[in-house]
Symmetry: C2
Subunit: 263 residues, 2 copies
């Protein structure tokens, strides 16, 4: 496994993107990419170069500050670490054709495109954390939605993501809830509930779609009430806000969730 | 206005991304970016260099084929055009640390990440074409949803986008429908409808949220029926499939829409 370090004064997004494009040309290679972002001071560069030296890795950097760029090149040379400067030559040529100096302030691109970036990130996060996936990252979510199957977690999560919120959703499936739920601040967790009659309709829709009959309890009215009741006990145990989505358009449920988490 | 040309064997995405990051360092500069993608043969390079020469512009390239890279450098030098090679130095260093040759086949990164790319594109498109925005691009949509206010167009569009479909949605607001609707293939347009009672509930939710009373007809049961009836006439006129979303979870409506457009 080869280690490649992306060093950036901003987020490292452009550098990582170009690196991944280049790595696609080495299909069989196993590479571990580490992004070292937000570099503003020479000391931070020392750490980054030390890491790369220890891993016998390659540095790829997109530093926009000329001084930091020179420092990195010097440090890498001293340590015998290969460093590829992705940004320097481009900035130099742009300076020629534009006839002016770059401002050399890291993070400007992101500042100018913050909204688009945050939304994209939120959507990517939300898709990756749908239906209890990657529950180990639950702390990174802005909002965590919890509820039984077919309560509407996915569409509401996606809608919130389109507004820029990173949402994870966690299904409650029989037995004990995942312990990770209780390790994050309860204000960020919202329990979703629904009238049993509507849940029954939703589940029957689903069975019809899948053209199968799911396990007996899935759309058994009695079991279903018990399941909703068990969910309510989990919400109470965690001290989570509860939003009833019965008959509400997705936007309305989303708004109530945002109010519940206090924003 | 300075012209910069991004030349790429793939989509030009990584190059454009890095260029935009670099340009953020020249906040006052006015730059026109042209992406020349899918370059596979030397003749295409001649055209690209001729364009750049005519515009007195800069070329930034991410070619992965060593032969094309050398050709571009030679052509640019002959024409006195500045060319920045973003990919070459990186590939060369990766070759050293990985101890193997790059395959030199353009478009590999996108091939490997097609699904993620397409989803991201679909979501961006869908957000940009919500609620009748950019109706001039309607032809580019995979699916166009049409319906009255509060019928659920936005959440369903976002859900379909998360599955990779580029969706535009067009509201029907009194008077005549936008003529663009009838200029695309009717099989790609789906009319959404809803029972008047549920629409009334949705609109009252909205009024409560906005803490205002909207125009008298917005949540007037009689006007609202007339509005739904007018929408149905538009669907009939266009020969559009109709999906009734009353009481259905977003996923179910989305599935019926996909069936209606025949996929």
């Amino acid at each position: 496994m080869t280690a490649v370090f992306v060093v950036s004064g901003g987020t490292g997004f452009s550098g990582e993107q170009l690196l991944r494009t280049a790595l696609a040309q080495f299909p069989a290679a196993e590479v571990a990419i580490t992004v070292i972002a937000g570099i503003r001071r020479p000391e931070q560069l020392e750490n980054a170069v030390a890491q790369a030296a220890a891993a016998n890795g390659l540095i790829v950097h997109t530093l926009v500050d000329a001084q930091l760029r020179l420092t990195l090149d010097r440090l890498a040379r001293n340590r015998g670490v290969l460093a590829v400067d992705l940004m320097g030559p481009l900035l130099a040529q742009l300076q020629v054709v534009l006839g002016r100096e770059p401002v050399g302030r890291p993070g400007l691109y992101r500042e100018q495109n913050r909204e688009a970036f945050e939304r994209t990130e939120a959507i990517e996060f939300t898709l990756a954390h749908d239906d209890g996936r990657h529950i180990e990252n639950l702390r990174q979510a802005d909002i965590v939605l919890v509820g039984v199957s077919r309560v509407g977690k996915t569409p509401i999560s996606l809608y919130l993501a389109s507004l820029g919120w990173k949402v994870a959703n966690v299904p409650l499936v029989g037995g004990t809830p995942p312990p990770e739920l209780f390790q994050i601040h309860r204000r960020r967790v919202v329990g979703l509930t629904i009238e049993p009659e509507q849940l029954l309709v939703h589940r029957r829709w689903r069975e019809r779609r899948l053209k199968v009959s799911l396990s007996g309890s899935y759309s058994n009215p009695v079991k279903l009430r018990e399941e909703l009741e068990a969910a309510r006990r989990v919400f109470l145990q965690g001290g989570f806000a509860v939003v009833d989505i019965t008959n509400k358009p997705v936007e309305v449920s989303a708004r109530e969730i945002l109010e519940a988490v206090g924003r």
